[in-house]
C-alpha cells in the first residue's frame, strides 16, 4: 500500500487526466496514461497547488514517469518542511 503522500499524488494525476484512480499506480508509464508534455505541465500545476510547492522549469523537463513525479514532490515537500522549521519568523 503506497504511503499517504504517494496516494495523494496518484489521486491528483488521475483527477487531472480524468482517469479512474485505480488506473494510476506509481509504476504507470506516461505512455500508458496518455500523458504528453502539456498534460505533464497541467499535472505539475495541480501538484504545486495541492502541496504548496514550486517546481522549477528545469525539473519539469526531467520528469519522465509517475515515479519521478512522486519522488520530486516528496523532495520539495520535505524541503519546504525544513525551511518552515528553520526560517526566521517574519518581522
Amino acid at each position: 500500500m503506497p504511503d499517504e503522500l504517494t496516494q495523494r499524488i496518484l489521486r491528483i494525476i488521475a483527477e487531472t487526466q480524468r482517469k479512474d484512480p485505480s488506473q494510476v499506480t506509481i509504476d504507470s508509464s506516461f505512455e500508458e496514461l496518455g500523458i504528453d508534455s502539456m498534460d505533464g505541465v497541467n499535472i505539475v500545476f495541480a501538484l504545486e497547488n495541492e502541496f504548496d510547492i514550486n517546481v522549477p522549469d528545469e525539473e519539469v523537463k526531467n520528469i519522465r514517469s509517475v515515479r519521478d513525479m512522486v519522488e520530486g514532490v516528496r523532495r520539495l515537500v520535505e524541503l519546504r518542511g525544513d525551511q518552515g522549521e528553520t526560517a526566521p519568523a517574519a518581522s
Partner: protein
C-alpha cells in the same frame, strides 16, 4: 521562368512599397535593419516586473516609446499600447510608400492586422480593479481598447480608409495570416492598396504569469537551434506593410521594396501545443506552389525558430521534408533571438526582416548560437550576418493550436 508570374499565373503581381517597424531592436525601419545586420540583442530585464515572483526576468520590450511623442493625450488614452504600436508602424509604412490618399483610394483601400492577445494589458487593469481592489466599476474604454481589432480600427481612423478592415487572431501566426490575406486581396483585384501587419504588447503581469505557467519561457536568453536553448523570450512590437499591385506602384513612381509571391497555410490536426513537421512542411510546399517556384529557388528562410526544446528540431524536420536535398543549401536564421517572440506581430516583424534582408543583400544571423544540435543540422547563419544575393525567401510562422502560415517573398 514561372516565377515571374505571381499567384501561379493568376491575378496581379503584388509589391510591398512601405515597411514600418517598431520593436525591441529599433523604433523605426532604419534602426531595425541596422540592428539585424549587427546582430544586436534587444532582450534585457523587464522593468515592470522587477519586484514580482515571476520565474523569468527578461523580455524584448520597446524602449523609449512614449505615447505622447506620437499621439495627443486624448488619443493616447483611447488606445492600448498594442494599438499605438500598430498606428506608429502604419504611419512609417505609409510615409515610405509615398501613397497619396485620394477619396477614391481610401474607398478601395483595406486593412488586415494580426494580434494574438489584443489589449489584454488594458483588460488586466480593469480586472485587477474589480477583483483585487474591490472597485465597483472598470474604465468605460476597457472594451474598445481590448478588442483585437483596435489596431485595425485606429489605422482606419488615422488614414480615413473605408474599405474592408479586419483582424486575424491565430496566436503566433496572426500577422502572417493577415499579410497572406492582404496579398490575396490585392492579387485578386479586391483592393488597390492594403495596410497589413501586426502588433503585440504582452508585458503585463497577468499575461506574463500565464506564459510562465506554460513553462516555455527561457530564464535568460533565446538561443534558436542551439543545443543549449532553453525556451523563448517574449517580445513586443509592430510591423506594418503597404501592399499594392506592382503595376500600380510603378505607374505612380513608387519604389517596390519586394514582391510577395506566395502564401501557404495549413493546420496540423495533431496537438494543441506540440508542433508537427508534416503540417509545417505542407504550408511551406503550398507557399512555393502558390508562388510558382521550385524549392531550389529559395535561398533564405526566416525561421519560426522560437528557441524552445520542441519547435526548433521540428521546424528543421519540416525544412528537410519540404526542401529535400536542397535543405542543406538553405541559409536559415531566427531573428527572434534579437527581437524576441512578438506573438501576433511575429509574422509581420519577421516578414519585414526578410524583405529588408533580400533588398539589402545581408542576411541576419541567429545570435546566441553556441553549440550544434544533432537534431538541428542545417545552416542557421550562426552569430554573424552574411552578405548574400538571394532572390527568393520564405518566412515561417507556426502557431499554438497547430495553425501554420508561410509567406514567400522575392527581391525586387
Amino acid at each position: 521562368m514561372a516565377a515571374t508570374t505571381s499567384g501561379a499565373g493568376t491575378g496581379r503581381r503584388v509589391a510591398v512599397t512601405g515597411i514600418g517597424v517598431v520593436c525591441a531592436i529599433g523604433k523605426n525601419r532604419g534602426e531595425f535593419q541596422q540592428a539585424l545586420r549587427e546582430g544586436r540583442c534587444g532582450i534585457d530585464g523587464i522593468a515592470s516586473t522587477a519586484n514580482t515572483d515571476l520565474r523569468f526576468r527578461n523580455g524584448a520590450q520597446v524602449k523609449c516609446f512614449n505615447a505622447e511623442d506620437h499621439f495627443s493625450l486624448k488619443q493616447a488614452d483611447m488606445l492600448d499600447r498594442f494599438a499605438q504600436l500598430a498606428v506608429v508602424a502604419a504611419r512609417e509604412a505609409a510615409a515610405q510608400s509615398g501613397i497619396e490618399w485620394t477619396d477614391e483610394l481610401r474607398e478601395n483601400a483595406g486593412i488586415v492586422t494580426g494580434s494574438c492577445i489584443g489589449g489584454q494589458s488594458t483588460e488586466n487593469q480593469g480586472f485587477y480593479d474589480v477583483y483585487k481592489m474591490g472597485k465597483t466599476r472598470v474604465h468605460p474604454m476597457t472594451i474598445p481598447k481590448t478588442m483585437a481589432n483596435a489596431g485595425a480600427s485606429a489605422i482606419s481612423l488615422e488614414f480615413g480608409i473605408t474599405g474592408p478592415a479586419f483582424t486575424i487572431s491565430t496566436a503566433c501566426s496572426s500577422s502572417a495570416h493577415a499579410i497572406g490575406q492582404a496579398f490575396a486581396m490585392v492579387r485578386s483585384g479586391m483592393c488597390d492598396v492594403v495596410l497589413t501587419g501586426g502588433s503585440e504588447a504582452p508585458f503585463s503581469y497577468g499575461v506574463l504569469k500565464a506564459w510562465e505557467a506554460m513553462r516555455v519561457i527561457s530564464p535568460d536568453a533565446c538561443r534558436p537551434f542551439s543545443r543549449d536553448r532553453n525556451g523563448m523570450i517574449l517580445g513586443e512590437g509592430a510591423a506594418m506593410l503597404v501592399v499594392e499591385p506592382l503595376d500600380r506602384a510603378l505607374a505612380r513612381g513608387a519604389t517596390p521594396l519586394a514582391e510577395i509571391v506566395g502564401f501557404g497555410m495549413s493546420s496540423d490536426a495533431h496537438h494543441v501545443t506540440q508542433p508537427s513537421a508534416e503540417g509545417a512542411a505542407k504550408a511551406i510546399r503550398m507557399a512555393l506552389r502558390d508562388a510558382g517556384i521550385a524549392p531550389e529557388q529559395i535561398g533564405y528562410v526566416n525561421a519560426h525558430g522560437t528557441g524552445t526544446t520542441v519547435n526548433d528540431p521540428t521546424e528543421t524536420r519540416a525544412l528537410h521534408l519540404a526542401f529535400g536535398a536542397h535543405a542543406t543549401s538553405l541559409q536559415i536564421s531566427s531573428t527572434k533571438a534579437m527581437h524576441g517572440h512578438t506573438l501576433g506581430a511575429a509574422g509581420a516583424i519577421e516578414g519585414a526582416a526578410t524583405m529588408l534582408s533580400l533588398g539589402g543583400g545581408i542576411l541576419p544571423p541567429t545570435i546566441h548560437f553556441n553549440e550544434r544540435d544533432p537534431e538541428c543540422d542545417l545552416d542557421y547563419i550562426p552569430n554573424c550576418a552574411r552578405e548574400a544575393e538571394v532572390e527568393f525567401a520564405i518566412s515561417n510562422s507556426f502557431a499554438f493550436g497547430g495553425l501554420n502560415a508561410v509567406l514567400a517573398f522575392r527581391r525586387y
